[in-house]
Every structure is written in structure tokens, then in C-alpha cells.
């Protein structure tokens, strides 16, 4: 239990740092080794476990300050490259978001008595609902723009609004895919733990990547079709977003899943009670 709390403390420091996986793993292991040494030294001096833990955490220093200093040691190019990871980091740090994620993920997993056909139909319905969520605001903006007279300045503004809206919708889709993927991955690994683990993961990446590209492709195709009569600037902005967003989504899913997998290995940053339940779950 104490070891778990030491690990939780270190995870709380390292998780939000923007750096590559290898660097963060090194930080995790080294900081945990240092904190463990500190704890063991306190125990050797005759402290009780709780007192030793309190003194070790105090002697280790302020987590926020350590995190800031550790972040400053990461080269700038790496910080920029891995800034996308702050999204899953943020998700993982928010208890309510993770509960939503778990619920979303569980809704996409086949029930013990559910037939494959029913499950497939339910999944299709889920993806359809996701498409509607993404499409409705964008089509709303597009339709609203048809009623506005536009000069050259307004065309730029419209192009920006639609490209921005498309990006937000795609990020929403990406966010949901990451959460769903996390849940599905856990479920698959629980059921097929062992030999098939690697195959499941590979299949899952393939499935999610294809789905993400398909959905975003459909979204942008729909918008492009409905606004073909608009200006050249508008279409250029749309084309750029169409090309860029599937790649962004794919990368975010891949990175998100990889990061989540490490969270699994390193445990939660939330405190757990004696029964192993999250404190915020009551």
C-alpha cells in the first residue's frame, strides 16, 4: 500500500510533463527509486510506515516545483512535438472525465449474453450518433452562412469559422475515439490476455485509425459538397483541414492509447482507499 502511494506521488509529478515516452519512463523510475530510498532511510531510522511516508514526501520537495524544473530540462523541440499528449494527460487527471470515458467504453463492449449481430448494430448506431454530433454544428454553420452576403473580408472570416469548427468537431471525435479505444483495449486484453494481446492491440489500432479517417473524411466531404458554391479561399481552407485532420486524429489516437497504456502500468494518480476503489468514487 505504501509503495503504491509512493508510485502515485511520482506519477502525479511526471504524468503532466510534455516529453517523449522513453524520457518520461526514465523520470518515473529514477524519481521513484529516489523517493523509495528516502522512505527506506526513514524506516531505518525507526519511523513508523506512515511517519516515514510523510517525512519522505516532505523531504522530496514540492511536486509542482519539481514538475516545472523537470519540464524545463526537456528540449524545446520535444516539448513542442509532444504537446498533444497534454490532452490525454488532462483527461486522465480528471476523475469525472474518466468515468464518462469508462461509461462510453463500456457501452461499446459486447455484453456477456449479447449476440454478435446485435452488438454490431449497436456499434453502428453509436458511430452514427457520433457522426451526427460532429455534422450537425458544422452543417448549421454552413447553412447559416448561405443567408449572409459576403464580401472579400467576410469570406476569410467564414473560411476561418468553418475550418475552426471542423477542427473542434474533429477533436471531439478524436477525444471520444481515444476514450472508446481505451475501454475496448482493456476489455479485449481482459478477455484475451496472453498470446492474443499483441494481435488485439494491432487490430484495434487498425480499426480505430480506419474509423477515424472514415468519419472525418465523411464529415468534410459533406461540408465540401454543401458549400461548393463558396469562394476559393474557403475551399482552400477546407481542403487543408480535410487533409490535416485525419492525420491529427490518427496521431492523437495512437499517442493517446500508448500513453494510456503507460498509465495502466504505472497506476492511477488518484488516491485509492483500502478496498482499492478511487476515493472520488465514494
Amino acid at each position: 500500500m505504501i509503495r503504491e502511494r509512493l508510485r502515485t506521488h511520482i506519477e502525479g509529478i511526471v504524468r503532466p510533463i510534455g516529453a517523449n515516452f522513453a524520457r518520461k519512463d526514465q523520470m518515473r523510475e529514477e524519481l521513484l527509486a529516489g523517493l523509495t530510498d528516502l522512505y527506506e532511510a526513514e524506516i531505518a531510522e525507526g519511523c513508523s510506515e506512515e511517519e516515514a511516508l510523510r517525512r519522505a514526501l516532505d523531504g522530496f520537495g514540492d511536486p509542482d516545483e519539481i514538475r516545472r524544473e523537470m519540464q524545463a530540462t526537456v528540449p524545446l523541440r520535444e516539448r513542442i512535438l509532444f504537446c498533444g499528449l497534454s490532452c490525454p494527460n488532462w483527461v486522465a487527471g480528471e476523475g469525472w472525465l474518466r468515468r464518462v470515458g469508462r461509461s462510453v467504453a463500456q457501452a461499446h463492449v459486447r455484453g456477456p449474453r449479447e449476440s454478435v449481430v446485435r452488438h454490431a448494430l449497436r456499434l453502428t448506431g453509436g458511430v452514427g450518433a457520433l457522426l451526427v454530433v460532429c455534422l450537425v454544428p458544422l452543417l448549421g454553420i454552413t447553412l447559416a452562412m448561405r443567408f449572409v452576403k459576403h464580401d472579400s473580408m467576410q469570406r476569410f472570416v467564414f473560411a476561418g469559422v468553418v475550418a475552426g469548427g471542423a477542427l473542434v468537431a474533429s477533436m471531439l471525435a478524436c477525444f471520444l475515439f481515444v476514450l472508446i479505444g481505451y475501454g475496448i483495449q482493456n476489455e479485449l486484453e481482459d478477455r484475451f490476455w496472453g498470446r492474443r494481446k499483441g494481435c488485439c492491440r494491432l487490430a484495434l489500432y487498425g480499426f480505430l485509425s480506419s474509423l477515424a479517417i472514415l468519419v472525418s473524411g465523411l464529415v468534410f466531404l459533406g461540408i465540401a459538397w454543401s458549400v461548393l458554391s463558396f469562394s476559393r479561399e474557403y475551399l482552400v481552407a477546407l481542403a487543408c483541414a480535410t487533409v490535416a485532420v485525419p492525420f491529427i486524429i490518427w496521431a492523437a489516437i495512437w499517442l493517446g492509447l500508448a500513453e494510456f497504456r503507460r498509465f495502466g502500468e504505472w497506476g492511477d494518480i488518484e488516491e485509492k482507499d483500502e478496498g482499492g476503489r478511487m476515493k472520488d468514487e465514494g
Binding site: R3, I13, Q26, M27, R28, E29, E30, L31, L32, A33, G34, L35, T36, D37, L38, A41, G59, F60, G61, D62, P63, E65, I66, E69, M70, A72, T73, P75
Partner: protein, 115 residues
């Protein structure tokens, strides 16, 4: 003697770490312990503040870190990283020593009112 904390040491921590590693390789906790021993307990550093300094020195090529081997590895728990001074670190330490001498001579002359 009054404790010397992290803020007072800011800017000198790297030099202290290099000086400690000159006497032999060490991991983070060991460096901290040696610092405390050699200052007769006056250097009261938070262990967490040591690692960023180690990473900075490693990035500069002044020290090299290696994970402890299987034989030294504790039966359970995380591995430590053992740091050694590199040839570049030795040169850097010599330069820092020279700068330190100049600094203490100049500042000491003013603060202590020496001619």
C-alpha cells in the same frame, strides 16, 4: 549552523554535484547523502530538486548516467541511475572552480570590507 536550502543554492547546485561525482560515481540519493555529510548537515536539499540538475548536466555531457546492473538491483522496486563524471565534466568542474574562486575573492573583499 543555519540550514542552506535549495533557493540559496540556486545556480551552484550543478557545481556541487560535479564536485561530489569527482570523488566517485553515485546515484541521486547517494549524492544527496554525500552533500549532507560533507556540509556537516548544513545543506538541506529537497531530493526532488536534485534530479533536474542531474538531467541538465547529463544533457550538457558533463555526467553520464547508467541504470544500475542486475547484480545491484534491489529485489523489488525501481532501478537507480548511477552517474559518473565525464572528461567534459572534469574540464567544466575545473572552470567552475576557477570562477568560484574569483567570485568569492571579489565578493568577499567587498562584503568583509577588506582592502
Amino acid at each position: 549552523m543555519k540550514d542552506i536550502t535549495g533557493n540559496t543554492l540556486r545556480g551552484h547546485l550543478e557545481t556541487l554535484v560535479l564536485a561530489i561525482l569527482e570523488k566517485g560515481e553515485a546515484h541521486g540519493f547517494e549524492i544527496l547523502r554525500r552533500l549532507k555529510d560533507e556540509s556537516s548537515g548544513a545543506l538541506n536539499l529537497k531530493e526532488g530538486s536534485l534530479y533536474p540538475a542531474l538531467y541538465r548536466l547529463e544533457e550538457m555531457g558533463c555526467i553520464a548516467g547508467n541504470w544500475e546492473g542486475e547484480s545491484e538491483e534491489r529485489a523489488r522496486g525501481p532501478r537507480r541511475r548511477i552517474y559518473t563524471l565525464t572528461p567534459k565534466g572534469e574540464k567544466d568542474l575545473a572552470q567552475r572552480r576557477e570562477e568560484w574562486r574569483q567570485f568569492t575573492t571579489t565578493i568577499g573583499r567587498i562584503v568583509e570590507g577588506r582592502p
